[in-house]
């Protein structure tokens, strides 16, 4: 088992899909990046913080970065926030932090893929 099965969300870079306080079921068994569009829990490069973002590009994909383009390596993904700076500001936070800040994420940092939201009761369902 590579990580937790149940996690709670803090901060707001994934609003409106994920709200602070949501409880999620995570599958920590995958050893490859799931398809583009998937929500993943991972360890942020540099800081090691347990974080959540959406896969916006997988191995071999070409992504925009620092005014140019880069091609993701065989084990890398590009992870992005759902929210823009104005959405996070509305929730009382600074701009979102994602691959635009910390770059591509190697698969060794993958912790798990989000399966289901099981709390709070009014928000139960697949995010």
């Amino acid at each position: 088992m590579g990580g937790p099965w149940r996690v709670a969300i803090a901060e707001a870079s994934m609003v409106p899909v994920l709200q602070p306080g949501d409880w999620l079921l995570v599958n920590p068994l995958g050893r490859e990046w799931p398809p583009v569009g998937s929500l993943v829990v991972f360890r942020e490069p540099l800081s090691g913080t347990l974080a959540i973002k959406r896969v916006a590009g997988g191995p071999g994909d070409r992504v925009e970065f620092a005014g140019g383009f880069l091609t993701l390596d065989h084990d890398e993904a590009w992870l992005t926030a759902d929210a823009d700076a104005s959405a996070t500001a509305a929730a009382g936070f600074g701009p979102p932090i994602d691959s635009a800040r910390f770059g591509p994420v190697p698969v060794e940092n993958l912790v798990g893929r989000v399966l289901f939201r099981y709390g709070p009761a009014r928000r139960v369902g697949r995010p």
Binding site: P4, A8, A10, V15, L50
Partner: protein, 146 residues
């Protein structure tokens, strides 16, 4: 009631994951912009006093870098420190920042000392607005060093 709480405690995740955002540090001071603008002023003086072509080219490059930093620091103040309620105390706030950032662009393209001086004067007006809205007390850890 007890059972509900028991079940909820049992189900509650033990792990927090961060939908990570920047945390504004809350420290703002127009002095940052002023120091970079003073660099522009001094570099223009040195540019004018030199007849070494390589030195003058470097001076222009450094002045443009510093001017970009002035604009960055002004933008941070404008977007992050100042709030709509500050317009009560500084009604010309937006016009002031518009003039100041336009003046930065002028300094970036100019070697006229008067342009750099005008930028310093505008930053002093921003400084006055920052003080008038409580910036000195609210945004520095121990106030400005004396």
């Amino acid at each position: 009631m007890f059972m509900t709480r028991f079940v909820l405690d049992l189900l509650a995740p033990r792990t927090i994951v961060h939908a990570h955002c920047d945390l504004p540090c809350g420290v703002y001071d127009p002095e940052q912009a002023r120091i970079e603008a003073e660099s522009c002023y001094r570099v223009i003086e040195k540019y004018a006093a030199s007849d070494d072509a390589a030195y003058r080219t470097r001076a222009i490059h450094i002045k443009e870098e510093r001017a970009d930093l002035v604009k960055h620091h002004l933008d941070v103040l404008w977007h992050d420190y100042f709030k709509p309620e500050h317009l009560d105390k500084v009604p010309n706030l937006h016009d002031l920042f518009w003039q100041a950032t336009k003046q930065v662009s002028k300094v970036k393209a100019s070697t006229d000392l008067a342009d750099a001086k005008k930028l310093l004067d505008l930053i002093d007006e921003v400084d006055a607005a920052w003080k008038a809205t409580g910036g000195l007390e609210k945004t520095r850890v121990n106030g400005r060093p004396s």
